[in-house]
């Protein structure tokens, strides 16, 4: 399957998860759907879905844990667990909740959800791998709103100091947070320059352009961690959700649903009630 088709399928699955769960952070998941699709399905991340603990694997840590549905959709597609499990997210008996938990879910490298944690965790993983002389790479995706957390800037200082060139951090820069435009809440400009000043190898890309994403994810600079500012559209893929803050956490109503289904290519059958299989 061509990468654009894969990303489209991931978006469909994200909505299906939300549909069956009855809610979720869809805007944030759609925003990074192209990035995570390229990471897992365009020859970037080294992994073995049949052996999630493979020692030489690369690691992906979803720091913006509220975009979990994108991660779940990708891991299911990659074969870490059966797709059917996605239709019971957030339900009694399911190992999947609104935020990803390591140990419970194969392929999940860190339990995230509280913002501002994933970067430091990823730095620890990258540092340990480097100390062990492993060639594996560590990726993490942060939200741009998440970068208002002070701990992110502790990590931003730390990773270049440690010379972690086996670490790539992508900021899903959709310029929206839960309640409003990022810049109306906290002025973070100039965003890329801040990271550059902290000593990162900074790249700025269109976070929905597959070629640019792949190139950036594979970029390395000796002794420097890489920071990719991925300019994205929150809610990307569903016209009425795009760059509208309320879609941080909301479900479509009966007028909106047909539009969403049309745009994502979902059928009635895709959204039919599914029974929990024991």
């Amino acid at each position: 399957m061509e990468i654009g088709e894969i990303a489209k399928d991931i978006r469909k699955k994200i909505y299906q998860i939300a549909h069956f769960a009855g809610g979720g952070h869809m805007g944030a998941a759609f925003s990074m759907a192209d990035i995570i699709s390229v990471l897992y399905f365009d020859g970037v991340l080294k992994y073995d879905a049949g052996n999630p603990e493979w020692e030489e694997r690369d690691k992906f840590i979803l720091s913006k844990g509220h975009a979990s549905y994108a991660l779940y959709a990708v891991l299911a597609k990659a074969g870490f667990f059966p797709e059917e499990e996605l239709w019971h997210v957030g339900k009694p008996g399911s190992r999947f909740g609104g935020h990803p938990k390591m140990h419970d879910i194969p392929g999940v490298e860190a339990s995230t959800g509280a913002l501002g944690h994933g970067l430091s965790f990823a730095i620890g993983v990258a540092y340990a791998d480097q100390a062990d002389g492993r060639s594996s790479h560590v990726y993490t995706i942060l939200g741009d709103g998440e970068c208002q957390e002070g701990s992110i800037w502790e990590g931003a200082l730390s990773a270049p100091t440690l010379g972690l060139d086996n670490l790539t951090v992508v900021v899903d820069h959709n310029k929206l947070q839960a309640m409003d435009d990022l810049e109306k809440i906290v002025n973070m400009k100039p965003f890329a320059e801040k990271w550059r000043a902290f000593g990162w190898n900074v790249l700025e890309i269109d976070g929905h352009h597959y070629g640019e994403i792949k190139e950036a994810l594979l970029a390395r600079e000796t002794k420097k961690p890489t920071l990719v500012v991925a300019n994205t559209i929150k809610g990307k893929g569903v016209s009425f959700m795009e760059q509208v803050p309320i879609w941080h956490y909301r479900m479509p109503n009966s007028q909106e649903l047909p539009v969403l289904m049309e745009e994502l290519g979902l059928t009635e059958a895709d959204l039919e009630k599914r029974e929990v299989q024991d």
Binding site: H103, S120, F121, A128, G150, S151
Partner: protein
Amino acid sequence: MRTAYLDTLYELANKDKRVYALISDNGAIVYDKYREDLPSQYLNLGISEANMLGMAAGMASRGKIPFAYTIGAFLAYRAFEFIRNDICLQKQNVKIVGTGAGMVYSALGPTHHSTEDLGGLRALPNLTILSPASPLEVKKATTAAYGQEGPVYLRLGTNKEPEIYQEDYRFEIGKGVTLREGNDATLIGTGSILKDILDAAELLEGRGIHTRVINIHTIKPIDKEIILQAAEETGRIVTIEDHNVIGGLGSAVAEVVAESGKGVKFKRIGLGGFSQGYGTYAEVKEYNGIGIGRICKEVECLMCT
């Protein structure tokens, strides 16, 4: 205690390359030997406790055994959510080492006092909490923390604590130690204040009151057996801690006693608020109502009722 800890860590790190000393720019001179001999297992991450603990969790997920060290107050308060989510929730094999227990940094004031750390951390699932009383016990607790897979908080004092043990003994996580026998009342303590408790017990002995002294070096999981035996045999329990009376040792002992249905005369000695005043450690303890005189007074009070 600090020297005992570092000597032990040095030995462990020498034997096991997975052991790392992570520090948050605290402990300048004391780490000299360690960083000279084991530079690849030493990381000063600067004044960023949250990042240090998040990173420690990441390292542990890759099989390392990080001992993350700085003043306990900065770990337990500043970085609480990192202890909770990154270390405890994920069951990472990180040893969180808080120095300056209670009001040990007496003249530095309440910002540097770890007087609510136990209260905050005790509720965290998967976390073992060790609070050794003397240099010898610090060595044993550090070794035990290393030997136990999973998150551990190790509460250390500073460097001036006297030894309270005359001879070697068996240290076991979760097992309290009876330091003195007696059947009139039981004094239960944790950390370096045990020395004061033993001195108070000696004074009380002179006044005809025979107290039992128990050292609870593991706050969690707490030794219910030794507490309930004391409740049964002495009928009076006084807890003494350099910590707020809410949430720490006294609360933990009270929970055990209350749930057992054994009625005892009970008193918690500890701080009622933020620490007040400055001075030597002994002076600050006295001023804040956790000195030897107060311990004796409270025991005598319980004896009269």
